[in-house]
Protein backbone atom coordinates (compact mmCIF):
# COMPACT_ATOMS: atom_id res chain seq x y z
CA UNK A 1 0.00 0.00 0.00
CA UNK A 2 1.23 3.52 -0.77
CA UNK A 3 0.48 6.04 1.98
CA UNK A 4 0.91 9.82 1.95
CA UNK A 5 0.99 11.41 5.40
CA UNK A 6 0.65 15.18 5.81
CA UNK A 7 2.18 16.54 9.01
CA UNK A 8 5.33 15.28 10.71
CA UNK A 9 4.35 15.88 14.32
CA UNK A 10 4.36 13.10 16.90
CA UNK A 11 1.34 11.44 15.29
CA UNK A 12 2.56 11.68 11.70
CA UNK A 13 6.13 10.63 12.38
CA UNK A 14 5.14 7.62 14.47
CA UNK A 15 2.51 6.58 11.95
CA UNK A 16 5.11 6.76 9.18
CA UNK A 17 7.55 4.68 11.21
CA UNK A 18 4.94 2.02 12.03
CA UNK A 19 3.65 1.79 8.46
CA UNK A 20 7.17 1.47 7.05
CA UNK A 21 7.92 -1.30 9.56
CA UNK A 22 4.81 -3.11 8.36
CA UNK A 23 6.22 -2.99 4.84
CA UNK A 24 4.19 -0.14 3.37
CA UNK A 25 5.58 2.57 1.16
CA UNK A 26 5.23 5.93 2.86
CA UNK A 27 5.85 9.58 2.05
CA UNK A 28 5.60 12.00 4.96
CA UNK A 29 5.27 15.71 4.19
CA UNK A 30 6.45 18.23 6.79
CA UNK A 31 6.37 21.98 6.30
CA UNK A 32 8.72 23.08 9.08
CA UNK A 33 12.29 23.02 7.77
CA UNK A 34 13.94 22.20 11.10
CA UNK A 35 11.46 19.49 11.93
CA UNK A 36 11.88 18.06 8.43
CA UNK A 37 15.69 17.84 8.85
CA UNK A 38 15.32 15.96 12.14
CA UNK A 39 12.87 13.46 10.64
CA UNK A 40 14.98 13.12 7.52
CA UNK A 41 17.89 11.73 9.54
CA UNK A 42 15.73 8.73 10.34
CA UNK A 43 13.27 8.37 7.46
CA UNK A 44 15.60 9.63 4.70
CA UNK A 45 13.82 9.74 1.33
CA UNK A 46 10.46 8.85 2.93
CA UNK A 47 10.03 12.42 4.15
CA UNK A 48 9.63 15.49 1.96
CA UNK A 49 9.78 19.16 2.84
CA UNK A 50 6.80 21.33 1.91
CA UNK A 51 3.30 22.63 2.64
CA UNK A 52 0.98 19.70 2.06
CA UNK A 53 -1.92 21.98 1.18
CA UNK A 54 -0.07 23.03 -1.99
CA UNK A 55 -1.01 20.98 -5.02
CA UNK A 56 2.53 20.68 -6.38
CA UNK A 57 3.78 19.44 -3.02
CA UNK A 58 1.07 16.77 -2.92
CA UNK A 59 1.85 15.80 -6.51
CA UNK A 60 5.58 15.62 -5.79
CA UNK A 61 4.71 13.27 -2.92
CA UNK A 62 2.89 11.07 -5.45
CA UNK A 63 -0.66 11.63 -4.24
CA UNK A 64 -1.99 10.52 -7.64
CA UNK A 65 -1.06 6.93 -6.88
CA UNK A 66 -1.72 6.97 -3.12
CA UNK A 67 -3.95 4.23 -1.71
CA UNK A 68 -4.40 6.16 1.50
CA UNK A 69 -3.94 9.80 2.47
CA UNK A 70 -3.62 10.69 6.15
CA UNK A 71 -3.86 14.34 7.20
CA UNK A 72 -2.55 14.82 10.72
CA UNK A 73 -1.29 18.39 10.82
CA UNK A 74 -2.11 20.57 13.82
CA UNK A 75 -4.46 22.64 11.69
CA UNK A 76 -8.02 21.47 11.12
CA UNK A 77 -8.52 23.65 8.03
CA UNK A 78 -5.42 22.12 6.48
CA UNK A 79 -6.54 18.59 7.30
CA UNK A 80 -9.97 19.24 5.78
CA UNK A 81 -8.54 20.67 2.56
CA UNK A 82 -5.88 17.99 2.15
CA UNK A 83 -8.51 15.25 2.42
CA UNK A 84 -10.95 17.13 0.21
CA UNK A 85 -8.37 17.59 -2.54
CA UNK A 86 -7.14 14.01 -2.15
CA UNK A 87 -10.68 12.73 -2.70
CA UNK A 88 -12.06 15.14 -5.25
CA UNK A 89 -8.99 16.14 -7.25
CA UNK A 90 -6.79 13.07 -6.99
CA UNK A 91 -9.61 10.52 -6.62
CA UNK A 92 -8.11 8.78 -3.61
CA UNK A 93 -10.95 6.86 -1.94
CA UNK A 94 -9.38 6.43 1.42
CA UNK A 95 -8.51 9.38 3.58
CA UNK A 96 -8.13 9.74 7.31
CA UNK A 97 -8.14 13.15 8.97
CA UNK A 98 -7.18 14.23 12.43
CA UNK A 99 -9.59 16.58 14.18
CA UNK A 100 -7.66 18.82 16.57
CA UNK A 101 -10.65 20.74 17.93
CA UNK A 102 -13.66 18.44 18.37
CA UNK A 103 -15.96 21.38 17.65
CA UNK A 104 -14.64 21.34 14.10
CA UNK A 105 -15.85 17.78 13.51
CA UNK A 106 -19.09 19.14 11.98
CA UNK A 107 -17.04 20.95 9.32
CA UNK A 108 -15.24 17.74 8.37
CA UNK A 109 -18.59 16.01 7.98
CA UNK A 110 -20.14 18.90 6.04
CA UNK A 111 -17.32 18.76 3.51
CA UNK A 112 -17.56 15.01 3.12
CA UNK A 113 -14.56 13.91 5.16
CA UNK A 114 -15.99 10.98 7.03
CA UNK A 115 -13.06 9.12 8.46
CA UNK A 116 -11.88 11.59 11.04
CA UNK A 117 -10.17 10.94 14.35
CA UNK A 118 -10.29 13.25 17.33
CA UNK A 119 -7.89 12.54 20.19
CA UNK A 120 -10.19 14.43 22.54
CA UNK A 121 -13.11 12.22 21.55
CA UNK A 122 -11.04 9.08 21.94
CA UNK A 123 -10.01 10.09 25.45
CA UNK A 124 -13.59 11.01 26.32
CA UNK A 125 -14.66 7.55 25.22
CA UNK A 126 -12.00 5.95 27.37
CA UNK A 127 -13.27 7.99 30.30
CA UNK A 128 -16.82 6.81 29.57
CA UNK A 129 -15.54 3.27 29.45
CA UNK A 130 -13.73 3.60 32.79
CA UNK A 131 -16.52 5.50 34.54
CA UNK A 132 -19.58 3.26 34.37
CA UNK A 133 -22.11 5.84 35.63
CA UNK A 134 -22.02 7.33 32.18
CA UNK A 135 -24.40 4.55 31.20
CA UNK A 136 -24.12 3.98 27.49
CA UNK A 137 -20.68 3.80 25.87
CA UNK A 138 -20.06 3.96 22.14
CA UNK A 139 -17.52 1.30 21.24
CA UNK A 140 -17.73 1.67 17.48
CA UNK A 141 -19.49 4.13 15.20
CA UNK A 142 -19.72 3.54 11.47
CA UNK A 143 -21.95 6.42 10.33
CA UNK A 144 -21.50 5.66 6.61
CA UNK A 145 -22.68 2.08 7.20
CA UNK A 146 -25.32 3.28 9.70
CA UNK A 147 -24.10 0.91 12.36
CA UNK A 148 -23.05 1.28 15.99
CA UNK A 149 -21.82 -1.02 18.71
CA UNK A 150 -22.49 0.15 22.23
CA UNK A 151 -21.90 -1.12 25.73
CA UNK A 152 -24.27 -0.49 28.60
CA UNK A 153 -24.23 -1.56 32.23
CA UNK A 154 -27.53 -2.94 33.46
CA UNK A 155 -28.71 -0.99 36.52
CA UNK A 156 -30.68 -2.64 39.37
CA UNK A 157 -34.40 -2.33 38.74
CA UNK A 158 -34.00 -1.65 35.02
CA UNK A 159 -36.75 -3.24 32.85
CA UNK A 160 -34.18 -5.63 31.35
CA UNK A 161 -32.76 -6.79 34.70
CA UNK A 162 -33.73 -10.40 35.60
CA UNK A 163 -35.34 -10.83 32.17
CA UNK A 164 -34.54 -13.51 29.65
CA UNK A 165 -32.86 -12.15 26.51
CA UNK A 166 -35.86 -13.17 24.45
CA UNK A 167 -38.16 -11.15 26.75
CA UNK A 168 -36.13 -7.94 26.83
CA UNK A 169 -37.95 -5.29 24.83
CA UNK A 170 -35.32 -3.92 22.54
CA UNK A 171 -36.24 -1.83 19.50
CA UNK A 172 -36.17 -3.22 16.01
CA UNK A 173 -32.78 -2.64 14.47
CA UNK A 174 -30.87 -3.66 17.59
CA UNK A 175 -29.40 -6.94 18.78
CA UNK A 176 -27.68 -8.13 21.96
CA UNK A 177 -24.37 -9.59 20.84
CA UNK A 178 -22.47 -10.17 24.04
CA UNK A 179 -22.74 -10.10 27.84
CA UNK A 180 -19.83 -9.33 30.16
CA UNK A 181 -20.32 -10.78 33.63
CA UNK A 182 -17.67 -11.02 36.37
CA UNK A 183 -14.99 -10.02 33.91
CA UNK A 184 -15.91 -12.69 31.36
CA UNK A 185 -17.76 -12.23 28.12
CA UNK A 186 -20.11 -14.71 26.47
CA UNK A 187 -22.64 -14.74 23.65
CA UNK A 188 -26.08 -15.02 25.26
CA UNK A 189 -28.79 -17.42 24.20
CA UNK A 190 -32.48 -16.59 24.04
CA UNK A 191 -33.00 -18.07 27.52
CA UNK A 192 -29.99 -16.35 29.13
CA UNK A 193 -31.15 -14.17 32.02
CA UNK A 194 -29.75 -10.64 32.08
CA UNK A 195 -28.61 -9.61 35.56
CA UNK A 196 -28.13 -6.20 37.10
CA UNK A 197 -24.43 -5.35 36.89
CA UNK A 198 -23.99 -7.12 33.53
CA UNK A 199 -22.35 -5.15 30.78
CA UNK A 200 -24.32 -5.76 27.63
CA UNK A 201 -22.96 -5.17 24.13
CA UNK A 202 -25.45 -4.33 21.42
CA UNK A 203 -25.23 -3.66 17.73
CA UNK A 204 -27.81 -1.12 16.56
CA UNK A 205 -28.91 1.38 13.99
CA UNK A 206 -27.96 4.95 14.96
CA UNK A 207 -30.62 6.83 16.88
CA UNK A 208 -31.82 3.95 19.07
CA UNK A 209 -29.65 4.88 22.05
CA UNK A 210 -32.51 6.36 24.08
CA UNK A 211 -34.74 3.28 23.75
CA UNK A 212 -31.83 1.06 24.70
CA UNK A 213 -30.93 3.18 27.72
CA UNK A 214 -34.54 3.08 28.93
CA UNK A 215 -34.44 -0.73 28.96
CA UNK A 216 -31.03 -1.31 30.48
CA UNK A 217 -30.03 1.73 32.51
CA UNK A 218 -32.82 4.28 32.99
CA UNK A 219 -30.91 5.78 35.95
CA UNK A 220 -27.62 5.94 34.07
CA UNK A 221 -29.33 8.01 31.41
CA UNK A 222 -30.10 10.70 33.93
CA UNK A 223 -26.47 10.88 35.01
CA UNK A 224 -25.13 11.07 31.48
Amino acid sequence: MYVVIAGGGKVGWNLARELIEKGHEVTLVEQDRRRYLIIEEELEHAVQYGDATELWVLERAGIQRADLVIAVTGDDEDNILICQMAKEKYLCDRTIARVNNPRNLQHFELLGIRSSVSATDLILRLIEHEVPQYGLVHLLDLPAERLEIIEIEVTPGAPAASQRVSDVEIPEGSLIISVLRNGEGFVPKAETVIEAGDEVLLVLDPGLEEDITRQFAPDGARLA
Binding site: T53, E54, L55, D76, I80, L81, L111
Partner: protein, 139 residues
Protein backbone atom coordinates in the same frame (compact mmCIF):
# COMPACT_ATOMS: atom_id res chain seq x y z
CA UNK B 1 -20.70 39.72 5.61
CA UNK B 2 -16.93 39.90 5.58
CA UNK B 3 -14.70 37.57 7.57
CA UNK B 4 -11.19 38.88 8.09
CA UNK B 5 -10.67 42.62 8.43
CA UNK B 6 -7.10 42.95 7.23
CA UNK B 7 -6.07 45.49 4.60
CA UNK B 8 -8.26 43.89 1.95
CA UNK B 9 -11.26 42.96 4.09
CA UNK B 10 -11.50 46.32 5.85
CA UNK B 11 -11.22 48.30 2.61
CA UNK B 12 -13.90 46.23 0.93
CA UNK B 13 -16.08 46.59 4.05
CA UNK B 14 -15.77 50.37 4.11
CA UNK B 15 -16.49 50.65 0.42
CA UNK B 16 -19.54 48.39 0.66
CA UNK B 17 -20.92 50.40 3.58
CA UNK B 18 -20.35 53.67 1.72
CA UNK B 19 -22.23 52.19 -1.23
CA UNK B 20 -25.25 51.71 0.97
CA UNK B 21 -25.00 48.01 1.84
CA UNK B 22 -25.52 46.52 5.26
CA UNK B 23 -22.09 45.27 6.32
CA UNK B 24 -21.11 42.93 9.12
CA UNK B 25 -17.44 42.18 9.78
CA UNK B 26 -16.05 39.23 11.75
CA UNK B 27 -12.44 39.10 12.89
CA UNK B 28 -10.68 37.28 15.71
CA UNK B 29 -8.56 40.31 16.58
CA UNK B 30 -10.41 43.16 18.34
CA UNK B 31 -7.65 45.51 17.15
CA UNK B 32 -8.71 45.00 13.54
CA UNK B 33 -11.69 47.17 14.41
CA UNK B 34 -9.30 50.14 14.32
CA UNK B 35 -8.68 49.53 10.65
CA UNK B 36 -12.38 50.01 10.04
CA UNK B 37 -12.34 53.33 11.90
CA UNK B 38 -9.13 54.63 10.33
CA UNK B 39 -9.46 57.79 8.20
CA UNK B 40 -13.22 57.82 8.65
CA UNK B 41 -15.22 60.81 9.93
CA UNK B 42 -17.25 58.60 12.32
CA UNK B 43 -16.71 55.27 14.01
CA UNK B 44 -17.59 52.08 12.11
CA UNK B 45 -20.69 51.49 14.24
CA UNK B 46 -21.87 55.11 13.96
CA UNK B 47 -21.60 54.77 10.21
CA UNK B 48 -23.95 51.78 10.47
CA UNK B 49 -21.46 48.91 10.31
CA UNK B 50 -21.42 45.80 12.49
CA UNK B 51 -18.34 44.22 14.03
CA UNK B 52 -18.05 40.91 15.83
CA UNK B 53 -14.96 39.46 17.50
CA UNK B 54 -14.71 35.75 16.90
CA UNK B 55 -13.01 32.88 15.14
CA UNK B 56 -14.21 32.16 11.64
CA UNK B 57 -14.58 28.41 12.16
CA UNK B 58 -16.84 28.83 15.20
CA UNK B 59 -20.44 28.46 14.10
CA UNK B 60 -21.58 30.61 17.03
CA UNK B 61 -19.38 33.48 15.85
CA UNK B 62 -20.72 33.20 12.29
CA UNK B 63 -24.28 33.21 13.62
CA UNK B 64 -23.62 36.16 15.91
CA UNK B 65 -22.22 38.09 12.96
CA UNK B 66 -25.43 37.36 11.09
CA UNK B 67 -24.45 34.80 8.47
CA UNK B 68 -28.05 33.65 8.20
CA UNK B 69 -29.08 37.07 6.86
CA UNK B 70 -26.11 37.42 4.50
CA UNK B 71 -26.65 37.75 0.75
CA UNK B 72 -22.93 37.87 0.07
CA UNK B 73 -20.12 36.27 2.05
CA UNK B 74 -16.51 37.31 1.63
CA UNK B 75 -13.73 35.19 3.16
CA UNK B 76 -10.66 37.38 3.43
CA UNK B 77 -8.69 36.16 6.43
CA UNK B 78 -4.94 35.77 6.05
CA UNK B 79 -5.25 31.98 5.71
CA UNK B 80 -6.03 30.42 2.33
CA UNK B 81 -7.25 27.20 3.89
CA UNK B 82 -9.42 28.99 6.44
CA UNK B 83 -11.00 31.01 3.61
CA UNK B 84 -11.66 27.92 1.51
CA UNK B 85 -13.23 26.05 4.41
CA UNK B 86 -15.46 28.88 5.70
CA UNK B 87 -16.54 29.78 2.16
CA UNK B 88 -17.77 26.21 1.71
CA UNK B 89 -19.50 26.33 5.10
CA UNK B 90 -21.24 29.57 4.08
CA UNK B 91 -22.43 28.02 0.88
CA UNK B 92 -23.31 24.48 1.93
CA UNK B 93 -24.51 24.98 5.47
CA UNK B 94 -26.01 28.46 5.34
CA UNK B 95 -26.91 28.63 1.67
CA UNK B 96 -25.48 32.12 1.16
CA UNK B 97 -26.21 33.27 -2.42
CA UNK B 98 -22.83 34.65 -3.32
CA UNK B 99 -19.63 33.46 -1.70
CA UNK B 100 -16.18 34.81 -2.56
CA UNK B 101 -12.91 33.57 -1.07
CA UNK B 102 -9.52 35.18 -1.20
CA UNK B 103 -6.87 32.58 -2.01
CA UNK B 104 -3.23 33.60 -2.34
CA UNK B 105 -2.07 30.34 -3.91
CA UNK B 106 -2.91 30.51 -7.66
CA UNK B 107 -3.11 26.71 -8.03
CA UNK B 108 -5.62 26.21 -5.23
CA UNK B 109 -7.57 29.30 -6.33
CA UNK B 110 -7.85 27.87 -9.83
CA UNK B 111 -8.88 24.40 -8.74
CA UNK B 112 -11.59 25.56 -6.34
CA UNK B 113 -12.83 27.98 -9.01
CA UNK B 114 -13.22 25.00 -11.32
CA UNK B 115 -15.28 23.34 -8.58
CA UNK B 116 -17.68 26.28 -8.66
CA UNK B 117 -16.36 28.36 -5.78
CA UNK B 118 -15.68 31.99 -6.60
CA UNK B 119 -12.08 32.76 -5.71
CA UNK B 120 -9.98 35.89 -5.99
CA UNK B 121 -6.23 35.42 -6.21
CA UNK B 122 -4.18 38.55 -5.41
CA UNK B 123 -0.98 36.69 -6.31
CA UNK B 124 -2.25 36.13 -9.83
CA UNK B 125 -2.96 39.86 -10.17
CA UNK B 126 0.54 40.67 -8.94
CA UNK B 127 2.08 38.23 -11.42
CA UNK B 128 0.11 39.76 -14.29
CA UNK B 129 1.06 43.29 -13.22
CA UNK B 130 4.73 42.36 -13.07
CA UNK B 131 4.56 40.68 -16.43
CA UNK B 132 2.95 43.73 -17.96
CA UNK B 133 5.48 46.02 -16.30
CA UNK B 134 8.33 43.89 -17.65
CA UNK B 135 6.83 43.69 -21.12
CA UNK B 136 6.45 47.47 -21.22
CA UNK B 137 9.83 48.13 -19.58
CA UNK B 138 13.11 49.25 -21.09
CA UNK B 139 11.67 52.52 -22.24
Amino acid sequence: MIVGAGRVGSSVAKRALADGHEVSVLDEDPLSHERLDANQPTSWEDAGGRFTVGTALEIDALLEAGIEQADTFIASTNGDNTNLVIAQIARRRFGVDRVIARVLDPARAAWYREQGLETICPTQYAISEFEQALAGGGR
